[in-house]
């Protein structure tokens, strides 16, 4: 089954004179799990945020499920964004709402779900991420790992077609990384299309269909985890991997 979900066509993003994404053309198929690695400042976050147009591309096109979304109005974009879940390094839970309210907000506001529907769905999602007992808690009372799992549940509540993860475990204490990766792994198994920026090489090895190495605004090298980790072709990929693995 290789149906293209996202087609990126000559994507360029500049901040002033700084070219952060330099002419990227890639296709992401339905069910793909893609892990993006690369040095800091290489443009990984900018790339992810361009996909759901939190950053507006300077030029190029992005087709999502067959339609170009770069020219859409804000209103049409809102409808696209609900199909692209996003998980952030800093969780970005809403601190003034309980866990349950965090998850219910978008389904009720955007999809006009009833309170009962949204609650039932939220509780099911909480169960899926192993936090059904935290429904009434406020984010401030949760650990980092718990917060990130709530954030994943919150994104899933909109039943997205693709999930974007921007370094979901790098703000976590080491002992909490596992619980989040486990949730992501289960999600991948369920067939979710995922684009994950991470430096968790073990996760990449086990879960990724493809690993993209991003450097200076381009996808410098891509391949299966085996190809990238065991036999990188590019000099800069080797450099990067040796630095990461040395840590």
């Amino acid at each position: 089954m290789t149906k293209p979900l996202i087609e990126i066509d000559h994507l360029v993003k500049k901040f002033g004179d700084n070219t952060v994404l330099n002419d990227i053309s890639e296709t992401i198929n339905q069910g793909d799990v893609i892990v993006v690695i690369g040095a800091s400042g290489g443009g990984k976050s900018t790339f992810l945020r361009s996909l759901n147009l939190l950053n507006k591309p300077t030029s190029g096109k992005i087709a999502f499920e067959g339609t170009d979304i770069t020219g859409l109005s804000e209103k049409e974009l809102d409808q696209v964004r609900e199909k692209m879940g996003m998980v952030f390094q800093q969780f970005n839970l809403f601190p003034n709402m309980t866990v349950l309210e965090n998850i219910k907000l978008a389904p009720m506001k955007v999809k006009n779900a009833t309170d009962a529907e949204a609650t039932a769905q939220a509780l099911a999602l909480l169960k899926q991420v192993g936090l059904e007992d935290k429904a009434e808690a406020y984010p401030a009372s949760l650990s980092g790992g718990q917060m990130q799992r709530v954030a994943i549940a919150r994104a899933l509540a909109m039943s997205p077609d693709v999930m974007l993860f921007d370094e979901p475990t790098s703000a976590l204490d080491p002992e909490m990384v596992g619980e989040v990766l486990k949730v992501m792994q289960d999600l991948a198994k369920s067939g979710m299309t995922m684009i994950v920026v991470t430096h968790e090489m073990g996760f990449a090895h086990e879960v990724a269909d493809q690993v993209w190495f991003m450097d200076q605004g381009v996808i410098a090298e891509k391949g299966t985890p085996e190809q990238i980790f065991s036999a990188p072709k590019e000099e800069r990929t080797k450099d990067f991997l040796s630095k990461v693995l040395a840590q």
Binding site: R49, N52, L54, E74, K75, D78, Q79, R81, E82, M84, G85, M86, F88, Q90, N92, L93, F94, P95, N96, L105, A106, K109, V110, E136, A137, Y138, A140, S141, A151, R154, A155, M158
Partner: protein
């Protein structure tokens, strides 16, 4: 008599004439001012009722009525014209602007037609010329004979008044203390900050009659007949109105009615002063509290709505709206509330007949909006951008993000600052009293003049203000705590 705010008023008038609205001041070929009053059927009089026996307020069966010599004269003039009399109270300093902007048809407020004033308004002939007296403490009465006994002694005068000029010229070896109100001057006299107060005889008499500790001596000033006595002010060029008033004044003089008016005023004052306890005047204070709270409450609501709008305009992408919001906020924050109040009442008043209360509310609300806008902006900016990104990535629109995510959090952050703004509004709304809004400050002055007591009404008003602000801060604190409690860890 007072020139305190004259600078502001002049600035306002200059601004208005600059904008091309000065037509109202121009002499018209055929003056129709009298005809206009007759057509309206109402003669509107402006006065500052804090100057017994000329004009003051009495509690007439629970209702505030303006009475005094000047009011009796005005009634006679209205009667002669065959129209009804309407009295508009305002601060003395605002009276001339009231004339020039058409808020009132005439001003009778024990006003001396000085050369300065004649430049901006027209006057009737003098209806009364009083002797100038000096009020002293009864215990010291033997020490002083006339103005020349005060060499080296400090004397009190009303700021900007005729008496202040007289004392400056003819008591040059007595240093002056200038205060705005006679009630305050009397306090200064009793505490020996001054040894005498220069006042015109009818005014001096009322204070001496109501206070056994005071005595009156004749100042024996040399008086210039052209700069002394009281006349009625009219807008420039209102020749027919002036003529009509002069006719009435002649009649009043011929029949010796002034003496009669004076006796009537004295009677009214005794009804006022039979019981001068503050409790007796609770209705005045209660009414003042009512207006103060009314202005504050409405201004808070409008201020928050306007402030939110301005903050969103300022934070938004539209350059024009952004510039408008910035200009508004900076301009309002860069000018005193007092001149804004006067601008709304007198300035906009040229086009719209805005009642004083409404003008006060509008000005205070417009002012508060600018401050609230800055508070809200800082609150919105204090919310991490990640919150917005998370909401937008879930498909929430910009508006929904603002409403459900950013605003509720911002509100909690700015609640204390917003609370301070509300509390200071209670106090700042007192500025509206200068255009005659009967708020707490205004009533404080009324009770001071009515009871000849300076300190007690101040204390009462101070306590009331404190109770209001302290109570409000407690209520706001309660809500703040509740919002915090919501998020407390379980």
């Amino acid at each position: 008599m007072k020139k305190k705010w004259m600078r502001w008023l002049t600035a306002l008038l200059v601004l208005l004439s600059f904008l091309g609205f000065s037509g109202i001041n121009h002499v018209q070929a055929a003056d129709d001012s009298l005809q206009k009053v007759k057509d309206k059927g109402v003669l509107v009089m402006g006065t500052s009722p804090d100057y017994p026996p000329y004009e003051f307020l009495v509690n007439d069966g629970g209702k505030n009525t303006t009475v005094g010599i000047d009011i009796s004269i005005a009634k006679q003039i209205a009667k002669d014209m065959g129209v009804k009399l309407q009295i508009k109270s305002m601060d003395f300093d605002s009276l001339l602007v009231g004339l020039q902007t058409g808020k009132v048809d005439m001003v009778i407020s024990a006003m001396t037609p000085t050369r300065e004033r004649k430049q901006s308004v027209d006057f009737s002939e003098l209806y009364y010329t009083a002797e100038q007296s000096i009020i002293v403490n009864k215990a010291d009465a033997k020490l002083y004979k006339d103005k020349d006994s005060f060499v080296g002694k400090k004397i009190g005068v009303q700021t900007g008044s005729l008496q202040a000029d007289l004392a400056k010229e003819q008591m040059s070896s007595s240093p002056q203390l200038g205060l705005a109100k006679y009630t305050d001057l009397v306090l200064a006299l009793k505490s020996h900050k001054v040894e005498g107060i220069v006042a015109e005889e009818p005014v001096a008499l009322t204070y001496v009659q109501h206070d056994p500790d005071l005595a009156l001596i004749n100042g024996k000033f040399t008086l210039d007949p052209s700069e002394n006595g009281q006349a009625i002010g009219f807008a420039k060029g209102a020749t027919t109105l002036v003529a009509a008033a002069n006719k009435s004044i002649d009649k009043i003089k011929k029949q010796g009615l002034i003496k009669q008016y004076m006796t009537e005023a004295a009677d009214k004052m005794t009804t006022n002063t039979t019981d001068t306890s503050m409790i007796h005047y609770w209705k005045y204070f209660a009414k003042g509290i009512g207006y103060t709270l009314l202005i504050t409450a409405i201004s808070v609501v409008i201020g928050v709505i306007l402030g939110t709008l301005l903050a969103l305009m300022r934070l938004g992408k539209n350059k024009l709206l952004h510039a408008l919001a910035v200009a508004y906020i900076e301009f309002v924050r860069g000018t005193p509330l007092m001149i804004q109040v006067m601008f709304v009442y007198f300035g906009l008043g040229i086009f719209l007949d805005i009642p004083a209360l409404l003008a006060g509310i509008i000005a205070v609300a417009l002012n508060s909006g600018a401050y609230v806008a800055e508070i809200i902006r800082s609150g919105i900016e204090s919310i991490p951008v990640g919150q917005t990104e998370a909401a937008r990535s879930l498909g929430l629109s910009q508006k929904q993000t603002m409403q459900s995510v950013v605003f509720p959090q911002a509100l909690k952050n700015i609640w204390p600052a917003l609370g301070n703004e509300f509390i200071s509004l209670i106090k700042e709304s007192s500025i509206a009293s200068i255009i005659g809004v009967t708020d707490l400050i205004y009533q404080l002055k009324v009770v001071q003049t009515a009871t000849y007591k300076g300190v007690q009404p101040i204390i009462v008003a101070m306590v009331i203000y404190f109770v209001l602000t302290f109570g409000l801060s407690k209520i706001l604190g309660y809500f703040e705590k509740r919002m915090k409690h919501d998020e407390a860890t379980h």
